[in-house]
């Protein structure tokens, strides 16, 4: 669905953010795009939706270059930025004026999501709190039923119960026809939500792999003593040592995204299947 080919991008010629970046994203997945602050997550997303132009390479959505800004493409993708703008209108009026641009918009579903988020439909958008505004726009984005839904730090501004609701709602909205990309630096917010993790670090994608595949390769656990173990990465915690081990005995463990992310950005390249020659062909 999304194909990024040899992307070169920088806001100026001197500061290059991406060099020769390649990435393919498919329907039926919820991707979690992880990266440190300033890693270029938002910029990568903007390239994907045609808000930024690559210096070289291209971003294709369903085979069409997003830089063309054709209405056909724009009506099949929805981008929710980190900082959102809402007009001084009621929710109803906003829907009446904007939903018509998205042919697959499901109004009933939108109001159901609003109810779920406990946002009154007669509310004036710009008078709502930032968190409430975000809930309206998340609901709107999901109700557009676009094939591609891109959300940049969607959980920023949401309180803890709302984050739980958010996870529930996203899981509800995923269909085989849809591709959802969620970018965040708050790794824990993606727990039990995404199925594939994409890690952006030092101008490149250092990992793109499904959680199932990671769980097959790596074992995440907390132990007090690591003597004699082939530890790939460890972190001290109040419960003991949180460790990542090779999953040689094919045991099941839940992928600890935060631990994995910390391990990856600390330079533990042995955590990626990149030693496998087919990695780039298979995953990226």
């Amino acid at each position: 669905m999304i194909q990024i080919e040899n992307l070169h991008f920088g806001y100026s010629r001197k500061s290059i953010l991406f060099q020769n970046l390649n990435l393919t994203l498919s329907r039926g997945h919820i991707y979690g795009l992880l990266g440190k602050n300033g890693a270029g997550k938002s910029t990568l997303l903007k390239n994907m939706v045609g808000l930024a132009y690559p210096q070289a390479g291209r971003c294709l959505f369903q085979g069409i270059n997003v830089a063309e800004h054709s209405p056909e493409i724009l009506s099949d993708l929805f981008f929710l930025p980190e900082e959102i703008y809402v007009p001084a209108q009621s929710v109803d009026r906003f829907v009446a004026n904007t939903a018509c641009f998205y042919p697959q918009f499901d109004e009933q579903f939108f109001y159901r999501l609003l109810e779920e988020f406990e946002v009154p439909r007669e509310a004036i958008l710009n008078r709502l709190s930032f968190g409430q505004q975000k809930k309206v726009m998340i609901s709107f984005g999901l109700a557009t039923n676009t094939a591609l839904l891109v959300m940049d730090e969607p959980t920023n501004g949401l309180d803890i119960p709302s984050k739980v609701q958010f996870r529930k709602i996203i899981a509800m909205a995923l269909t085989e026809e849809r591709c959802i990309i969620i970018s965040t630096h708050q790794v824990r917010d993606l727990d039990s939500l995404i199925d594939t993790v994409v890690v952006l670090h030092n101008r490149e994608i250092i990992l793109k792999e499904t959680l199932d595949s990671i769980a097959e390769r790596l074992y995440f656990t907390t132990i007090s003593d690591t003597t004699g173990l082939k530890v790939l990465y460890e972190e001290e915690s109040y419960r003991g040592k949180q460790v990542i081990l090779p999953n040689e005995e094919e045991r099941f463990s839940k992928v600890d995204l935060e631990l994995l992310f910390n391990a990856l950005i600390s330079g533990k390249q042995n955590l990626t299947p990149s030693s496998n020659q087919n990695y780039h062909e298979k995953y990226v």
């Binding site: 903007k46 045609g50 930024a52 724009l74």
Partner: protein, 250 residues
Amino acid sequence: MLFKKHTSENYKSYLLSVGVLTGIMFLLMYFAAKISENYILNSYKQMEFFWGLLILAGTFFASTSFANLSDKKRAITQLTLPATRFEKYLVSWLYSVIIFLIVYTSIFYLVNISILHFFKQPGKVIKIFNIFAETDNNIFYSVFFSFAFVQSLAFLGSVWFKKAHYIKTAFTFFLFIIILQLLNHRFLEWFLEKDLNLALVFGPIAFLQNKEIVILDMSQEQAHLFSLMLLILSFILWTATYYRLKEKQI
């Protein structure tokens, strides 16, 4: 759909602007009439008000056309909305040229008639300036073509600059005019092999000959051609605005 959405989201601020413009116009024309001889604004003065305020209000309004794009949040919403960039451009152009001219002209005549009625004196008939009847002596073209030119400049400025669009566009324009004026003066002195007292860009030149000041100005036809040139420049600037909008990135 896009026009309806734009109107629905902006009509309140547009109505407020109409109120402010009416108020300013009324005050200026009221005080001008009050200090005039016999409290009369003759049709020449009415025309000056029409033209002057049209340029000021028109450029100010045009400079806000794409100012939203400087705000990252609003720009993302606007640019990702499923419509072509040309449609987005066209809605702003319609508002800042066609709708603005209709609303401005209506306000002007409303205010002008009110002022004339307010200072009405028995036995004196004052002619109301009619811009649409001024086609014979070139005023109609001068007014609307000069508006089109400065509007297109402000329109381009609104998408070109990131902040203080109006000030920056006006500053750039005046800087350009000063440089052009200096070059024009030097060039004409070299070309005519004379010391010139005055040499305005697309305007009259003046020099001393046999101890007398000679002034050369454009003929009526040349003035007409100059107005036409302003319109052509406007089309170029409107096109440049579209391409600037098309390549806009966040």
